[in-house]
């Protein structure tokens, strides 16, 4: 299959390229970028006039719900949601049921994903068996099966001795450990501690739940030299600690979710369970710090934190409702919205969901490392074509994800995805991307 994309605005944050041009794709790879020889005879031509031709998006946190939570999401539905959102590579956390602590499970997941031929899937393995925080998993075996790192997902490792050893062991082989900074005891509430939680009578998670955990992790990193990726920061104080740790050259990186980039605790309103998220939404000053830190690079990547939740689990009193929101199809729009509001250039905005998450993954990407999240001749053709001028309204029932719950229902977002190519195949196509 040869595809020619014509008259697009080619934007590649990694190389700094931002210019009009054409892209030629053959045998799954980009064979020409910018100017395409007239000798190239495509099977399909896509008219990209008015569209941005960007690298496929890379999402470091998307729950696909398989295995174990198929009533909330299936690989088919969630991978279809990914490509509809322009996402061509995604990392899934290990908190499935059973958890991803056995190589066989990881191989099965990778196999199922490969057969669907939609986005590339990079699972995180469980750091400890059953995420129990007691016994290390077979990290080398899991890496061979396709894991790109090891994580405790939302189950905090209560035992510092186990966490210390897990980091020592991971550091031995150069594996990255993905941790959410949340103290197991202080971090149990359902909303951020503050005036809103006090007024509504919701149990609050104090900022120190995040900062105490961060300080512990940093000490363990200093001692072990392990590389740690911090998932979903939520507070201004936490970001300040990360900033200092980075200045100290600790081998750390971090991400933040689209939810925390745009929302605050006040959005909970009258107990709106769509705002029941992990970590809980914090205050205005925390959101301001998150937005600034994503801009200045203290925060490495923006993630969707995609978590499909079914209606039965959401239509409950706030504290009993399952945390999480659908996000894969909103990642691009919410990133662009932040870019517009903060004055970031289009390439800088796209970098937070392409080049920068790829840098977090680093060598774990293997053969795709040279081309994921960027546009290079000879590289794997993962592309996202979107219309930067079009605006669309988030309608939960129109989402492809099985998860319909989103805090952004009714929001108008910029940037409609017109086509997504994964390894040179059209994985998603809205009608208007067709050449006429």
């Amino acid at each position: 299959m040869k595809i020619l994309i014509q008259n697009g605005r080619i934007v590649d944050p990694a190389s700094g390229r931002d210019e009009p041009g054409d892209v030629a794709i053959a045998a799954g790879r980009i064979v020409a970028l910018g100017t395409v020889s007239p000798d190239f005879h495509p099977n399909r031509t896509l008219d990209a006039s008015g569209l941005v031709v960007a690298p496929g998006l890379v999402d470091l946190a998307a729950r696909l719900r398989e295995p174990g939570h198929e009533h909330e999401g299936m690989l088919e539905s969630e991978m279809a949601a990914a490509v509809a959102g322009g996402v061509t590579s995604l990392v899934c956390p290990p908190d499935t049921d059973p958890v991803l602590d056995e190589p066989g499970l990881v191989e099965m997941l990778k196999f199922r994903a490969r057969n669907l031929n939609l986005a590339h899937l990079y699972p995180l393995g469980a750091l400890t068996r059953n995420l129990g925080g007691d016994t290390l998993t077979e990290m080398a075996e899991l890496t061979e099966a396709g894991c790109v790192g090891f994580s405790q997902a939302e189950s905090a490792c209560r035992d510092t001795l186990v966490l210390h050893r897990a980091l020592q062991y991971a550091a031995t082989f150069g594996y990255t450990v993905w941790l959410r900074a949340n103290d197991a005891w202080l971090g149990n509430g359902v909303a951020a501690k503050g005036p809103l939680a006090t007024r509504l009578g919701l149990s609050g998670v104090p900022v120190i739940a995040e900062t105490i955990a961060l300080n512990t992790i940093f000490e363990l990193v200093r001692d072990t030299g392990a590389r740690v990726h911090l998932c979903r920061l939520s507070s201004a104080a936490g970001i300040e600690l990360v900033r200092r740790a980075k200045a100290e050259k600790l081998p750390i990186s971090c991400d933040v979710s689209v939810n925390h980039l745009h929302l605050i605790d006040v959005d909970i309103g009258y107990f709106n369970a769509a705002m029941r998220l992990t970590p809980p939404l914090r205050q205005q000053r925390d959101r301001d710090a998150i937005r600034a830190a994503l801009g200045d690079g203290t925060i490495d990547a923006l993630v969707s934190d995609h978590t499909p939740v079914d209606a039965d689990a959401k239509n409950l009193p706030f504290a009993e409702a399952e945390p999480g929101a659908t996000g894969l199809e909103l990642l691009l729009g919410l990133a662009l919205k932040w870019g517009e509001e903060s004055g970031a250039t289009l390439p800088a905005t796209l970098a937070t969901i392409t080049q920068r998450p790829v840098a977090v993954l680093g060598a774990a990407l293997g053969s795709l490392g040279a081309s994921a999240g960027r546009l290079v001749e000879g590289g794997v053709a993962d592309l996202c074509l979107f219309d930067p001028a079009s605006r669309w309204t988030v309608q939960p029932q129109a989402l492809r994800s099985q998860g319909k719950h989103t805090p952004f229902s009714g929001y108008e977002l910029p940037g409609r995805v017109r086509a997504t190519l994964v390894a040179g195949q059209l994985a998603y196509e809205a009608e208007r991307a067709e050449a006429r």
Binding site: G194, R199, F271, N315, L316, A319
Partner: protein
């Protein structure tokens, strides 16, 4: 997407549910208190009934046990001539695994006109109000730590009965404020009615500093908290909080924050002592105070019936 409008008011600003005192205009609170005053005489008659809710079905849905509150709602509804159905959900449907909204859908199909809801989770009555049929009214009879609006209103009725005017008062609320839905409802009501000084008194584990954001003065010293007060509202200390990480013991709590005749002497001579009940003698309040001349704990209970009659009759008369 949820509407931003206060879900307890209709487009005309009339009360259709009572979910929380927060966000209710002063006029609505005053209307309820005035109406309660007119019902007080009904309770003293030979025939204690008025026909305002005749033919209406009031369902008492208690997802959390509370004999006392349920009984006062039942009496209030019956004195308004409603048919009252008590459902002890804590021991029936949810124990069989039925979801909250399925329970509500089933009861709505039985043509309920009003749900009186007690639930252990903050916000549960909001969920019910959003999902029940438009003609059904919801009264929050206590949800988690969030609100207990009828208790707040009966406290306001009691204060107005004894003090007449709210605008010169100092009110001290003492004890476990952080876990108390009564305290939250009282604070919102007192603020709305114009009380200039509201003090929250207790140790830092039970009275955290961020309560200041609700417009109260936080006092960790009992003497400072009740000195010169016109009204002292003592809160019940739940058994499970009497020892543990919140407090070392009930005895030590009483020593520091229990209301004794000596401490009461620091308040104004005509100060009244209130308590939502049931009281723990010797834990938050000394028997000599609970049974003393300044205690209005039993009148609170009497006023509570009239206030609940007022709330039910007002919301039943307003359409969504």
């Amino acid at each position: 997407m949820l509407s931003k409008r206060n879900p307890q008011l209709n487009a005309q600003g009339e009360l259709i549910h009572l979910l929380s005192i927060e966000g209710l205009p002063r006029a609505v609170l005053t209307q309820i208190l005035d109406t309660a005053g007119s019902f007080l005489s009904v309770n003293e008659r030979e025939v204690k009934k008025v026909p305002l809710l005749r033919g209406k079905s009031v369902f008492n849905l208690f997802f959390e046990n509370s004999t006392r509150t349920r009984t006062t709602f039942e009496i209030a509804a019956k004195r308004l001539s409603a048919d009252v159905i008590n459902l002890d959900i804590a021991r029936s449907s949810t124990a069989k695994g039925e979801s909250l909204l399925d329970t509500i859908a089933n009861l709505s199909a039985m043509h309920a006109d009003m749900f009186v809801v007690r639930h252990s989770e903050s916000g549960a009555p909001y969920l019910i109000a959003q999902h029940c049929a438009p003609h059904v009214h919801v009264v929050n009879a206590g949800d988690g730590r969030h609100a207990h609006p009828t208790q707040g209103l009966l406290d306001m009725y009691t204060i107005r009965h004894y003090k007449r005017d709210f605008t010169g008062l100092t009110v001290a609320i003492v004890g476990d404020i952080v876990h108390s839905r009564v305290a939250r409802s009282d604070i919102h009501a007192l603020t709305t009615l114009g009380v200039p000084e509201i003090r929250a008194v207790g140790p830092k584990t039970l009275v955290p500093g961020d309560l200041r954001e609700m417009g109260v003065r936080v006092c960790h010293d009992m003497a400072e908290g009740i000195r010169g007060a016109d009204v002292i509202i003592m809160l019940r200390l739940q058994n499970e909080r009497m020892s543990g990480a919140m407090l070392p013991s009930a005895g030590e709590f009483f020593k520091n924050y229990g209301l004794t005749p000596e401490k009461l002497a620091l308040a104004k001579p005509d100060a009244i002592v209130m308590h939502p009940g049931p009281i723990n003698r010797g834990v938050e309040i000394h028997s000599a105070v609970a049974d003393g001349a300044q205690s209005v704990i039993l009148p609170q209970v009497t006023f509570g019936i009239a206030v609940r009659m007022a709330v039910m009759s007002i919301i039943a008369g307003n359409n969504a």
